[in-house]
């Protein structure tokens, strides 16, 4: 993330930016950990998805609006979200092959292993995509909606 001159006045002070550069990666990693271990430890698709969205929000708050579009444009987040939705729906429809709508078609695997519990890890990932995309799209839309302009265009 090279920061050129004009970028400095956007977003918060320099100290916050350097701290953010360090912490964003950690938050993102923590969110992905929560999602992948959803069926073993507390948390899951929702909590992990929100943490991943928070890491993007953290980035936008620290570096200002223009930076937001360089990371993920608004239509990008919306399509990420609907991609997560389509993935989750296909997992559900795949359940049809196993008899009913939501059956867990993949083998359960032996317990306590990372790749156990059939489709649950896949659903967790799909939900994480959806929640992260959705919340970041909401945040981007709210950032764009600058309330200062008195008369709506």
């Amino acid at each position: 993330m090279r920061t050129n001159e004009d970028n400095h006045k956007e977003g918060m002070s320099l100290i916050v930016k350097t701290i953010t550069r360090l912490s964003v990666g950690l938050i993102l990693l923590y969110g992905i950990y929560i999602v992948l271990h959803g069926h073993l430890s507390p948390g899951g698709g929702f909590a992990g998805g929100v943490i991943v969205a928070l890491s993007f929000v953290h980035l936008v708050l620290a570096f200002g609006k223009r930076q937001a579009f360089r990371t993920l444009s608004e239509s990008g987040t919306a399509s990420l979200e609907s991609l997560g939705g389509v993935l989750f729906l296909t997992i559900a429809l795949a359940g049809f092959s196993g008899g009913y709508f939501f059956t867990n078609v993949l083998p359960n695997g032996e317990p306590y292993a990372l790749l156990s519990a059939g489709t649950i890890p896949l659903s967790n990932i799909a939900i994480c995509l959806k929640v992260a995309g959705g919340l970041f799209a909401i945040f981007i839309a709210l950032v764009l909606l600058n309330p200062e302009s008195e008369q709506g265009s």
Binding site: I34, G38, H39, L40, S41, P42, G43, G44, G45, F46, A47, V50, I51, A53, L54, V57, L61, E74, A78, E81, S82, G84, G85, F88, L89, A92, F101, F102, N104, N108, G109, P111, Y112, S116, A117, G118, T119, I120, S123, N124, I127, K130, V131, G133, G134, L135, A137, I138, F139, A141, L142, V143, L144, L145, N146, P147, E148, G152, S153
Partner: protein, 182 residues
């Protein structure tokens, strides 16, 4: 158990501050305390999944709420309330409290839920779904259909916000509704 009551009292005080505070920003922060109080209660009541999700969701909702209050050039103080609706809300509150008190006598006391259906989740959880975390097993396998509906609610809200945040609703140029009629 005392910790549970202490947190509840703190949350009620936080709620009163949030509703009655004159300064909008302090009201938003008071709601933050109520939300974090819930994740503390969830920890006390042995619900780690709920605690982590509530904590994180509270953070993002406080960020969104502050986004709505900070950048606006309005005087931060808010004045007054609608007296008539206030009376209606008070009457509603009193009736709910009174009937609720009677109803609470009939539901099982705190700490002794009769878990008729949940026993099957606890017993069958591991071999039925292979997931160690029973709550995730319920959320994604036993009652996965709920979570599909749930993800759709978030999707609908995101679409709603994108629809509301667009600059103009109707096309000014193409159709001038009153006479030119495509």
């Amino acid at each position: 158990m005392i910790a549970l009551y202490a947190i509840l009292v703190v949350m009620i005080i936080g709620a009163i501050i949030a509703i009655e505070a004159r300064d909008l920003l302090s009201a938003v922060i008071a709601v933050g305390t109520v939300g974090l109080g819930i994740s503390l209660v969830a920890l006390v009541a042995k619900a780690p999944d709920v605690a982590i999700t509530q904590l994180v969701v509270e953070i993002i909702s406080v960020v969104i709420l502050i986004r709505a209050t900070i950048r606006i050039g309005l005087p931060r103080s808010t004045h007054g309330s609608k007296p008539l609706l206030g009376v209606v809300a008070l009457v509603f509150g009193i009736t709910v409290l009174v009937i609720g008190a009677m109803a609470f006598a009939e539901i099982p006391p705190l700490g002794a839920p009769h878990m008729r259906v949940s026993e099957t989740y606890v017993a069958e959880g591991l071999e039925g779904t292979g997931a160690v975390n029973i709550v995730t097993a319920i959320l994604l396998d036993f009652r996965g259909y709920d979570t599909l509906g749930e993800a759709t609610v978030l999707f609908a809200a995101a679409m709603g916000v994108l629809a509301v945040a667009r600059p103009a609703g109707r096309r000014k140029t193409e159709t001038e509704p009153n006479h030119a009629n495509k």
